[in-house]
Symmetry: D3
Subunit: 226 residues, 6 copies
């Protein structure tokens, strides 16, 4: 069961309204590396996880991502201000001006509607954890892109917080990965010669990498027992 | 520039036509973990890579994934046989029967049209490599799902080959990741207290993972100097 | 902020696994009248609501719809059973068999991926409430469709509960509508002659309805002061 | 059978070309509250309606919405002017400039392609009528959004007409709803205790609405016999 | 302006209900070669056509395609019968059973929602006419696919009619093409050496076609003056 | 099998970075008339072609279109320059600024993600060739649109080359069409009276075209034996 607490996970503020910044920040509401995607991915994946600690982790983070979604929506809302004026929205999508009456939308920065195509679920815990580690890294990168371009101290504080939270999630997903190291798709890795070949199909070039010692993925860090 | 060689990367065969197997195998043509997605992801990501060896790797694998796409299409083609008959296609999508005249389609097993929403590109090499490692692991898992359910020796040989190739790509993407370990989004990791917190938002449960020693991702393997 | 309680809003059970029923029930996870749509619609709309009681209502229901989503996912999970076998999934989509390893997916019954195109937000409270009343009625209808076809007592208990909850939401959204009766898009209704004309464009037929006494929508019930 | 009359339902004009206004007005061609959506929704819903007067109403309005679509397309066409110049199209989508040679497109203001996900059909007349009442209200709101921002007398006359027509449709759909008041999904409303509960899941807050006297929706107006 | 005549363009009938046939025939309602696509394409393209006779042709055919859409919807409606039963819908999409209450849907045979991505408009009359000629040929092919598999005399009569109408449209679009032969994108064809080269990129093979005498497209038939 | 040669099919250059031009040129990467669509369409269609010379033609052109895709991506990359700055991207989509770190994306100019809905495959060679002839003509038109608006000599040279290549492909597809003139969907054309009727549904107007001498499509040119 989900419950909602009217206090934001962390308070948000903006220096002043800026519909272009609002359009850009939409990317992390309804884009492929955004908060809705993260929440839905971890929630969906969690459904078949048997390990109670890992399932707890997925739901802790899913609930946090929903809480991030709320923070980003609140920020976009403030950036959209109080006046419909598409003529000032020269960057990115204009749906807040022409459709939603300045409400945040489930679209990316250019107005593409959120799609469940962004969500990866395989039922294999190792694959799903790798998906999540990668997703957190990408989310961080997009926040970095936005940080550089949004010159508003209030928004930057929020972005900084969210960006650091993606790092924390990343760290914990790696811990979980190391715990289930030899299960599921991690098993029977590299047992055929096909898994050790290099096809040099782009030329000129060569074989600068060597798959001959194939092992399943394993992280050096983090160490849950440090 | 891309060139095409009429010889398949590896010859394919099927024991006999089976439109239900064809519909299922469509998943790896036009689904989120399929060959088109992989090819387009690595191709798109490669455009801004400056390290010539890593760029070569991405294009070697992109070309191979296109070659895999061709193998899966050829297999679906054989499985579709020679007679339009949707009444025998009781599993999954029927587009081969009603639309494409038994040609393979750029859809998943249930007929959802391929979308570029499956493709992740951030311009940050660390994030993109993690995306690819995860993508290869997922592709392997989907091939495992299909292997279990497609009781056709010819198809299974092809699936086995493709599955092992995903392992090889995975290995090499990890090698590349370790080479660029401390660049881009890997830098300045875990420098704020926010990156070390655990929000225990799903209850009952607890904090079974610990982000306090946050470090950026790093793989134990593979060892590029072995 | 969102929090998660591991107890389901209401416990679910199934008589026995049935992948066809699972595929059908997917409609209410990721279809246009499903639980994710409802949760996202009310959450998105709530962002700009100033009346604290109405905003509370929207978030109460949004959180409940997320909790319904979890219940339907848990039911689909049980119906999917433990064995990958697309050959037994002759009705609707096969993504649980070929892609998600029996996990519920954010798709409708036929495998179309959830899209934010299902979510309506206008920033006008009257319009948004009417959208929600209609959405709840449609959700009820789809559960009725499913109830008739899913011959499993456990699933039917869950559907019955969910269906009745949609009625409760519907009732409360109408109460809220009556409270804001003369605001926003409800104002200045029917002030031009154009709003009172009937264009009889389908023939033969006639003008069996009369817009000449145009007034803005108003519900007879429910009565918030009863 | 559909027939076309080359005379527009109402003549349109613009003060002068303005590609930004054209991009914005696209919202009502191919957006979720636009004319194509309305026409397709009523047409699709009408297919199984048995009451000949209500079916006539649906097709009268469907034909009118197609006629509105034509009016909006004609207006966008005039606003697009005669010269390809994306550099002057700083607001919203640029497809008229780079793809369609200044022809109107079936997209929303930001370029998202129209999707049938916007169309709601349940086969239950009460639910479908509520959907239509809500859809007309939303369409009105979007025209109000556009009216405020498009400073062109010619376009505003057209918007004013269309906005008022949505009111007329709204009125008539409510008349129809009241006629079929106790049928379909309106029956057996509120018969279980579950339909009368309030789950107070967002806190702090409370229970400001009361579903305990649940009745099916019913409109105070309009009165078809007034 | 569009008007609707309650008489179908041609009466339809089915031998008996068959939900599988209904699912298959959906392809021509909401698929890429279906009637909605055709109607919307010709309507959209017509908006900027200056030649009144050609514009008349486009709107004659657009109105006819809408009338075809109505015929196919009516046929699907009859095939869907009167009982919700997904268990009998083992071929293709199940949306009529779980969502629309047996109403036809704007989806293809496998349930993919109609998208304006199917509609091609360039603003260049030659290109648009070639698009339409191709579209009519494809529509014919899909009807042939369906004819072979739908063993119902009533449905086959309708398919036969529709298939032949696509031929008539094809013929007329070619007449129109020949009239505007040397305009727009037909001009200045083949003036650079680049337009006359053959890149032999797939090997082994060769150059079995010769672009060196490049001329713009021109049809041998039909002859508008015969 | 596909192979990649690091040399572009033709070298590209830009006068200077211009993110607005980059956004516009995206149309030919991931839009409906773009290079990915062309490559995927010919590749998909080729799978069931039996005539070895025509299959060779399709794969020659598919490989060339992939090579064009690479050229357009390289050009967009140069136009995107080296600095993230959405404030300078006032035309079209902003995904390169907020998501992809200046990498080209598989979207159109306004940010709509590429979809396989753009790809037409029927399994009928005549229909598929007509689709390709039309597709090449549309691609040429879009390049003409872009040429007029992109005032950069380097980009224009590339556009000029690509535009002329579309003409060459068009020519060769017509040659191939004439070779298979009387096969597949070209057979039994115009044998019923229905294929010779004109429905005059848009009024006022008339019947300015005459389908009574219906014949299947046939091109005057090109002549493979000239």
């Amino acid at each position: 069961m989900f419950k909602h607490d009217k206090q934001l996970l962390r308070q948000v503020r903006v220096d002043k309204p800026n519909p272009n910044y609002a359009a850009m920040l939409q990317e992390q509401i309804g884009g492929p590396q955004g908060e809705l995607k993260a929440a839905m991915q971890y929630f969906s994946q969690s459904q078949r996880i048997k390990d109670p600690q890992i399932r707890d982790l997925f739901m802790d983070i899913a609930a946090e991502e929903l809480s991030h979604l709320e923070m980003v929506c609140a920020t976009v809302n403030l950036l959209n201000g109080h006046d419909l004026d598409a003529s000032n929205t020269t960057v990115g999508n204009i749906e807040a001006q022409v459709l939603s009456g300045l409400s945040p939308m489930l679209t990316n920065g250019s107005g593409h509607l959120w799609t469940a195509a962004y969500v990866n679920v395989t039922g294999d815990l190792a694959a799903d954890l790798l998906s999540n580690i990668a997703a957190e890294q990408r989310a961080k990168v997009v926040y970095e892109h936005l940080y550089r371009q949004i010159d508003d101290k209030g928004v930057r504080e929020t972005i900084d917080f969210l960006l650091n939270r993606e790092e924390a999630h990343n760290t914990m997903f790696r811990e979980a990965f190391n715990r289930i190291q030899d299960t599921g798709s991690q098993q029977n890795w590299g047992v055929t010669k096909d898994s050790k070949l290099y096809f040099d199909l782009s030329t000129p070039g060569g074989k600068f990498f060597d798959p001959s010692n194939a092992e399943s993925p394993s992280f050096k860090n983090p160490n849950p027992t440090h």
